[in-house]
């Protein structure tokens, strides 16, 4: 890997924020809206319902914060590619001495930075507004976040590969792909609530084990090591498969002239 090339690609993305700081709104607006809606809704239910409900508020806030790690990581990879499509700069980048590995490493870095920004913001806000301390996840916070980050990267590569394959008309996939899986990913409710068919799909997603684990930690203070290992193993499979898909699609793009079509559309 060539770190200077990776640094240059990352710098190109970061320059966008120095040139137009208003772009930063996209990074903070929707996560904040989610946190406020889910946080106050559950606070309201907490006050007006009896039973075990008080505990749920922490689950939902934790879910909002951790989901954003996955979403921002995926966006980092997919939007990185689209930025060059939108500015018709794609050919300049792909005709430069940039390997696929360097390119992907740069997109991962952007995904990581985006996730760090929003997680920090949501962590502080949830502590101020709802007294939810993200560190109440103890030592599990890091493995949870890492697993979601890696799955976000894999989804980002899949999104980009599909956009390259199907052309600019498919660019909404950059935002849609994470939400295709969200209902099955046990983000806000346990896998056991899903019908058997969907549960099988849920069990094949690494993030399901993370969200189940998060609820378990908040409930009992610990999580099953087996579930964490399962999530990590599945993540490795997804990352490798997404990498193979990305490389194959880029090869197809070079064979069919898909990259050059992007430049002229």
């Amino acid at each position: 890997m060539n770190f200077r090339v990776i640094q240059a690609l990352v710098m190109r993305y970061l320059y966008l924020y120095t040139r137009a700081p208003v772009r930063g709104i996209e990074l903070v607006f929707w996560p904040m809206v989610n946190l406020l809606v889910w946080g106050y809704l559950t606070q309201y239910l907490q006050k007006n319902m009896a039973g075990d409900f008080p505990g749920q508020i922490t689950y939902l806030i934790g879910a909002v914060i951790l989901w954003d790690v996955l979403f921002r990581a995926q966006q980092g990879v997919a939007i990185f590619f689209l930025e060059d499509v939108w500015t018709r700069n794609l050919l300049n980048v792909f005709a430069a001495p940039v390997t696929t590995r360097d390119y992907l490493a740069a997109t991962y870095t952007i995904g990581l930075l985006r996730a760090l920004v929003t997680t920090t913001l949501l962590g502080v806000l949830s502590w101020v507004l709802y007294s939810f301390n993200v560190f109440s996840l103890h030592g599990y916070l890091l493995p949870f976040a890492l697993n979601l980050l890696v799955f976000g990267w894999a989804l980002g590569m899949i999104s980009t590969a599909l956009i390259v394959r199907w052309g600019p008309a498919a660019e909404t996939l950059a935002w849609a792909v994470p939400f295709f899986i969200q209902p099955f990913a046990a983000v806000f409710f346990p896998m056991s609530e899903l019908p058997a068919v969907f549960r099988a799909f849920s069990m094949a997603l690494p993030c399901s084990y993370v969200f189940e684990g998060m609820r378990e930690v908040l409930r009992s203070g610990s999580v099953s090591t087996r579930d964490l290992l399962l999530a990590t193993g599945l993540n490795l499979v997804y990352l490798a498969a997404a990498g193979v898909l990305f490389v194959r699609v880029m090869r197809t793009a070079r064979r069919k002239g898909l990259l050059t079509k992007f430049a002229t559309q």
Binding site: Q7, A8, L9, R88, N89, A96, P97
Partner: protein
């Protein structure tokens, strides 16, 4: 890094290059070379295969068959090492319009690992007479300024091979003249080999040492601009161009020839 190619060798050697999209052959069995320090014109009407050929030379498009050797190395196997020593400028690509000029050149300078980058950026901006635009937003530049910035990006890494795809398209005669002079100066000072496509026959006659004339994806003729005019028994390169372009879908009757075959 691999050893520099011997000066007697071709900088670029395309052998029997073919690119098919389904049944359509955009480039069909094209062979040519670019020699060290040479400006080679790639001529042809719209759809002749020029841009497809250039995209293959940049590794953006894989040939259906045939090979491309640059600096004595197979492009398919050594793409990144080769791209580090070459560059390109195309009227069909933009630089990121949402960045400042200095930011764009900094990013590409780092991608090409240009040493002493700040000084080099000032040099190329000065060479193209756009030093005053350094702090302007790229998207706010005029067409002529954008083309010159594109050329700055292409010159940043002091390329040994420069691919220029219609660099004077959409430029007024004054700026087009300046661009031609810069291209000639770059060749004289650095010895770079240059592949130059243009629909402006004056460009071609003024700066190209040799021309490869493409028609419907095939090489129709290779020679100096004067040799081409003589071969087709026309009085200017422009008239040759028009005659070939208007041959339309009918297969052009001229054989593929090289100067010296006559």
């Amino acid at each position: 890094m691999f050893a520099a190619f011997a000066m007697s060798d071709s900088v670029l050697l395309a052998r029997d290059l073919t690119k098919r999209f389904g049944d359509f052959a955009a480039v069909n069995g094209v062979s040519f070379e670019i020699r060290p320090g040479e400006i080679l014109g790639l001529l042809g009407a719209n759809g002749a295969g020029k841009t497809t050929a250039i995209n293959m030379m940049l590794g953006l498009l894989l040939p259906t068959s045939g090979t491309i050797e640059i600096f004595g190395r197979d492009l398919a196997k050594h793409r990144v090492e080769i791209l580090r020593r070459m560059n390109f400028c195309s009227t069909y690509t933009n630089l990121p319009g949402n960045l400042y000029v200095w930011q764009v050149l900094t990013v590409f300078g780092r991608l090409y690992e240009v040493p002493d980058l700040k000084r080099r950026i000032d040099e190329v901006l000065g060479l193209l007479e756009i030093g005053h635009l350094k702090k302007r937003v790229t998207g706010h530049l005029s067409a002529g300024e954008s083309t010159r910035l594109n050329l700055c990006k292409a010159l940043l890494n002091r390329p040994e091979l420069l691919l220029l795809d219609e660099p004077t398209a959409s430029l007024d005669p004054d700026i087009a003249d300046k661009v031609r002079k810069v291209v000639s100066r770059v060749r004289e000072e650095s010895g770079a080999a240059i592949l130059y496509t243009s629909h402006n026959m004056r460009d071609v006659e003024e700066i190209c040492d040799r021309v490869v004339f493409l028609h419907r994806g095939k090489v129709l003729f290779t020679g100096t601009p004067a040799e081409i005019v003589r071969h087709f028994e026309e009085d200017s390169l422009e008239n040759v161009f028009i005659r070939v372009a208007r041959s339309g879908d009918v297969e052009f009757t001229g054989e593929t020839r090289k100067a010296g075959d006559e």
